[in-house]
């Protein structure tokens, strides 16, 4: 029997490391995570959670099985607030001072509201009215 030479050994080690890396890396793909800390989240009535990171990404997670949808980028900068809307959708707002209105089915905002000259820190909903609180010192309804 021939023992493998150093070159063959190196190659098989490389292959092993590659396979190990692939195996270790795959679970991370199963559940997408934000590229930065989560700054805001809202629980929707259909048992999903919308989370947004300081990296501006918004992800919808279904609580039952963890199925996740990454939404199209809408904000320029951190998302500081997410609030559930009575129609089943939600609103997001953040560093860019705009408010995005999302339905539960589209991966792009259905509406965009502007007015603040500074970052939005918080949102609240009362029926049809959305209020935003901003670091520009004002609030809009």
């Amino acid at each position: 029997m021939r023992t493998p030479g150093p070159a063959a050994y190196k190659q098989s080690m490389r292959l092993f490391i590659l396979i190990a890396c692939l195996l270790l890396a795959s679970p991370a793909h199963a559940q997408p995570v934000h590229g930065a800390p989560i700054r805001a989240l809202a629980v929707l009535p259909d048992w999903s959670v919308v989370s947004a990171g300081l990296d501006a990404t918004i992800i919808v997670h279904r609580l039952s099985d963890g199925a996740a949808t990454i939404l199209q980028p809408a904000h320029d900068g951190a998302v500081n607030a997410i609030v559930a809307l009575p129609d089943g959708g939600f609103a997001s707002a953040g560093a860019d001072g705009g408010v995005a209105i999302w339905s539960r089915t589209d991966t792009l905002p259905v509406r965009w509201l502007e007015g603040h000259t500074g970052p939005i820190a918080a949102l609240a909903v009362n029926g049809e009215a959305i209020a935003s609180a901003s670091w520009d010192g004002t609030a809009w309804v």
Binding site: L123, A131, G137
Partner: protein
């Protein structure tokens, strides 16, 4: 547009009549009836978050103090949370969850202002949280970069989303799963006839051995107290033969209190 704060506005909520109310870095809580502005409360520290509760408002302070106030601004209670700067609030009606940047969450009864549960999320920076609609689970978000779930009653971690089924569904399934063994002999619907065992329709509150169409054993006829969650749970804890010696019910026990609770939950729903 609402102007009046002398600095960033960090929180916004609505009073029960629809009036917007805000909390600011300047430490004030302001109400905005019909576009006018009125200070409801003034605090020494910047206020980081504001939420409406069943009894009024809750405001989270950068000094670690939680203020519970009535809708007209009167101080109802002050909670020195003792967990560092407070950054986020969530409400499920009677209870409030307050998050500290340090990673700790307190669940607070808004009526008594007492902490019910403390949750240590282990996040190095905790930013946000929310209750599920049934109030059993809290979702938190922060430096871990993925939302995490917590049992509101016990403060225990339920793991990241997607690794385990939602607890409410799991509980419901567990009860239904346990009942499969019972369903061989017992029906639950209001119009269903008895099988080898009596129908369990409207079980809780019913007197033992009270169905006219079922041939009960003398052991069951000797019982007098109406069936309750507790008595049925006790039957499964100690076993039918100790509960009612001589019963026709096959001997079986549920040793795990969580299983007994899950089965009682299922019975409550299914036998209504």
């Amino acid at each position: 547009m609402l102007e009046g704060h002398t600095g960033p506005v960090n929180g916004v909520a609505f009073l029960s009549d629809g009036t917007p109310v805000t909390a600011g870095y300047d430490g004030t809580i302001r109400a905005w009836p019909e576009g006018t502005s009125r200070a409801l409360a003034r605090y020494a520290a910047p206020q980081n978050a504001l939420i409406a509760t069943v009894d009024g408002l809750a405001s989270a302070g950068a000094d670690g103090t939680l203020h519970l106030l009535s809708e007209d601004g009167r101080d109802r209670a002050t909670v020195e949370a003792g967990i560092g700067p407070l950054v986020a609030l969530a409400s499920d009606g009677n209870r409030l969850a307050v998050a500290a940047l340090s990673g700790t969450v307190l669940i607070i009864d808004t009526a008594t202002a007492q902490a019910i549960t403390a949750i240590n999320t282990g996040e190095t920076a905790l930013w946000t949280l929310g209750f599920t609609d049934d109030g059993t689970t809290l979702i938190t978000g922060g430096s871990a970069r993925a939302p995490r779930r917590w049992d509101v009653a016990t403060g225990r971690a339920l793991g990241p989303i997607g690794t385990v089924p939602a607890p409410a569904a799991a509980q419901a399934d567990r009860g239904a799963q346990l009942f499969r063994a019972c369903a061989i002999c017992h029906a639950t619907g209001a119009d269903s006839a008895s099988r080898a065992g009596p129908s369990l329709a409207h079980l809780f509150g019913r007197a033992p051995a009270s169905l006219p169409d079922y041939p009960y054993s003398d052991a069951l006829r000797r019982l007098s107290a109406p069936w309750t969650r507790d008595s049925v749970a006790q039957l499964f804890e100690i076993g039918p033969q100790r509960f009612a010696p001589g019963t026709k019910m096959p001997e079986q026990r549920l040793a795990d209190p969580d299983d007994r609770a899950a089965l009682m939950d299922y019975l409550e729903r299914a036998t209504k």
